[in-house]
Symmetry: C2
Subunit: 142 residues, 2 copies
Amino acid sequence: MTTDAEQLLRGAGLRVTRPRLAVLDAVHAHPHADTESIIGAVRRGLPDVSHQAVYDSLHTLTAAGLVRRIQPSGSVARYESRVDDNHHHVVCRSCGAIADVDCAVGHAPCLTASDDSGFRIDEAEVIYWGLCPACSTAPTPK
Amino acid sequence: MTTDAEQLLRGAGLRVTRPRLAVLDAVHAHPHADTESIIGAVRRGLPDVSHQAVYDSLHTLTAAGLVRRIQPSGSVARYESRVDDNHHHVVCRSCGAIADVDCAVGHAPCLTASDDSGFRIDEAEVIYWGLCPACSTAPTPK
DNA sequence: CGCCGTTTCTTGAACGAGTCAAGAATTGTC
DNA sequence: GACAATTCTTGACTCGTTCAAGAAACGGCG
């Protein structure tokens, strides 16, 4: 496992550091986790990492395209390791649960807007809002 | 104009207050404005409104469906008055500019996920990421 | 194998959008 | 007009995230 992560980092031209390896593992192990959860997961194997190291690592990994950052309205930043496979997310309005959804309309056509206003579009991000199975049957979150 | 806004509020079963009217006007006048801009716009006509009144009004109006809240990753909350017409947004990665885009695939089919994981989906939100015309020709944001 | 320059991490303070809470003012109804 | 309910004002406060300075780790080189 560590070897995997190490190769990913080297492949991206990044230095291999303990915090980065741990962060990469944590994101793989906990898809859609927020930063605080990732800090917790990282510290299980590396008790003394600073929160800042995790923030820095997440930024670096995101910039390198090794993890993806998502942030639905009203939520804190979350991270996942599925990248470059054109999938989207469903978010529960009630409990905030997130699940993956493959692209609705085939391969990657979501990238086509009807009128792009002159923008050079490079990514289409889709978030479906609704209620997860649990909240759907048992309403009234509060 | 005020009459319009007043009818919208009454139609939604909301009390008609000066701050709410001003907020509604401001959102109509400045699509995709963030909260701070809206506060500024509101205070041009109503100098003594508290920021809290604006926050409250925006929440109420959003809950009533009179305005829509959008919040692209890394941005603060923004509001717009186009509701219920199934349009999406393009966001410039460089300068943060936002433009409207009509639904790519016809009427409202974006609401169909390929596999909804058991969620009861009620809305599909699409954000296209790219570079606006200005940033596209003049690169290097920094 | 050990040194060196660069990058990354630690520590701790700071920031800003947004929220909470208590009391005063306003709304709409009787 | 007066009352109950809602909304607004004021001001403190939270929480995720960023900033900044110095210490430590990384990896290329001899």
